[in-house]
Amino acid sequence: MQITKEKKIEMLRSMLLSRQFEDKLTELCKIEGKIPGMMILCTGQEAVGSGVCAALAPEDIIISNHRSHNHLLARGADPNALMAEIYGKRTGCNKGKSGTLHLAVPEVNALCTTTVVGGGPPIAVGTAFAQQYRKEESVTVCFFGDGAADEGSFHEALNLASLWRLPVIFVCENNLYAGAQRYEEHTKVKDIADRAIAYAMPGEVVDGNDVTAVYRAACKAREIAVSEKGPTLIECKTYRCHGHGEADLQLYQPKDEIAAWVEKCPIDKLRDEALSEGLISNDAYEEMNRKMNEIVENAVRFAEESPFPSPEEALEDVFVSSRIS
């Protein structure tokens, strides 16, 4: 499958925005009292969300997890609203109710971000069911980590999705760690993609640091899903370059392992490819980088200048005020 120049540039831009956004967060969360709560980043894993989302149509749905920033930005969420939410501000995409961990952006069909490990797959079954029920030509993507594949809910969801041939793409972001546990310490099977066999669906391992490989796999899975052939499990092998959260000192991650993976940066890889293929000039790349930086700086300014919600706003949004006809 040929990937167009535009697609490659789109993915490069998407990864860069995500990296700039998170590099900024790394910086901000070191400032005492600036950002509330935990800070969980996907630095180095950008090829997964950016590659998958590049294969999607606007009506497709994504379900995300605690490591969501890249998924949401790649899906087109407004960086200002995301940053403001991370700051806990009223102008945040969820009015300060979700913070960094549960960002929901229904405007771009990012319908649910759940931090319950394994919470996403059953919900993806539901959204994909709705798509099938309405005979839409759309799919649901569910992002989750290697740790989530240890949860029972993952297995129930794969079985049901396969049984009903639901249009869902299960994207396992295997970043080699679940908390402080290295992959071999929590799962026996070598490839999580092999679990697809147990549910009679296609399973594919891809290089999760190669955005074009991820994109190709997602296009294929999407094609299978919309032609009513059911779900696919894609395992993207990648690496968690930061700790589980920014407070994590990474004492259990070997330094040379981290260094080796930092070398495999997915952004550098695509940039080098684009440069050598003449898709982009050095200047144009630098310009793009500067642009992304500007977007992030604007988002930070927007967040900082935005007001906090007033305390009583905590009481809003629990229920829909009843609209019974």
Binding site: A104, C112, I123, V125, G126, T127, A128, R134, V318, V320
Partner: protein, 325 residues
């Protein structure tokens, strides 16, 4: 008016709402083809009449069933899913407690989750504690959930129709013993509002607050007191959340005496909540200490004499009333 059991009334509600709104579908274990086929059961005949696209028999996968509801609701359908027996709520509870109840709030009011989880309770049949544990107080403890527990076939029908049209997640708990106790159900279409108690019997001397299967028992006890010249008022709360505390308080202010009865065990049961509300807001009206009549703090035992010991009966209620008049 027709004489119907509660299962038949639920069946009518499902039928009418499925006919009215093509976004309504039902799913659960054995709701299409079950091991028991009886016209007294809630989903009897629905597969035949609505087809397998809208009547989804699921695998034994409570997390996936509840996730199906959450996702499908997020994507715009109106799922009505069934949890076979109330203790299996625990297997579905992550999806209900952490997702259905919270995702709207987390979205800052952007998303809605119009779903119904029908839960059957099997007490009274010697099925034992893993089929008969009343968990309504757990559900009512979760902000974001509505909890409905009808006592009559007519209420069950009207409340379920309201629940299906409600834009919030509703937990609808059916006591299976009531499937086989016919009662009048209006012929014409009607809705029963969620959050409104009903005085099932007027009285001036004692208030009994009850729901589900305890209402019928309370009515019988009241008849007996009536012969002695003591008039018992019976408040059927019908929904625990939202709770119609005004009706409870007005009744207590009138009678000055209160007994709350439920089948669930005592500690942490919902009678405690109602008692606290009355103490906070109507203490001055109380002429005697209030009383709770509940199951004891034990798992529901299986053997008939043991189970009868567990489930509150008329005698328990009568002696509680005698203590305070």
């Amino acid at each position: 008016m027709n004489q119907l059991g509660m299962g038949q009334a639920v069946n009518q509600a499902l039928r009418e709402e499925m006919m009215r709104d093509s976004g309504v579908f039902i799913a659960g274990e054995g709701i299409g083809v079950g091991i028991m086929e009886s016209p007294m059961l809630p989903t009897f005949g629905l597969l035949k009449d609505f087809g397998p696209e809208r009547v989804k028999d699921t695998p034994v996968s409570e997390a996936a069933i509840a996730g199906l509801a959450v996702g499908a609701a997020a994507a715009g359908l109106r799922p009505v899913v069934e949890i076979l027996f109330s203790p299996f709520f625990t297997l579905a509870s992550d999806m209900i407690v952490n997702h259905a109840a919270k995702l709207r709030y987390l979205s800052g009011g952007k998303s809605t989750f119009p779903l119904v989880v029908r839960i059957k309770n099997a007490s009274g049949h010697g099925a034992g504690c893993q089929h008969s544990h009343n968990l309504e107080a757990w559900a009512a403890h979760c902000p974001g959930l509505k909890v409905v527990m009808p006592s009559t076939p007519a209420d069950a029908k009207g409340l379920l129709k309201s629940a299906i049209r409600d834009d919030n997640p509703v937990i609808f708990i059916e006591n299976m013993a009531l499937y086989f106790q016919p009662g009048p159900v209006p012929d014409e279409e009607y809705l029963t509002p969620i959050g409104k108690a009903e005085i099932k019997r007027q009285g001036k001397d004692v208030t009994v607050v009850a729901w589900s299967n305890m209402v019928g028992l309370a009515l019988r006890a009241a008849d007996q007191f009536s012969q002695e010249g003591v008039e018992v008022e019976i408040v059927d709360v019908r929904t625990l959340a939202p709770l119609d505390k005004e009706t409870i308080l007005a009744s207590v202010r009138k009678t000055g005496r209160l007994v709350v009865i439920h089948e669930a065990n005592r500690t942490g049961g919902f009678a405690g909540e109602i008692s606290a509300i009355v103490m906070e807001e109507a203490l001055a009206s109380l002429k005697a200490p209030l009383r709770r009549v509940t199951g004891p703090d034990i798992p529901v035992p299986a053997s008939p004499p043991l189970e009868s010991f567990y489930i509150p009966n008329e005698e328990n209620l009568i002696s509680a009333i005698r203590e305070i008049i």
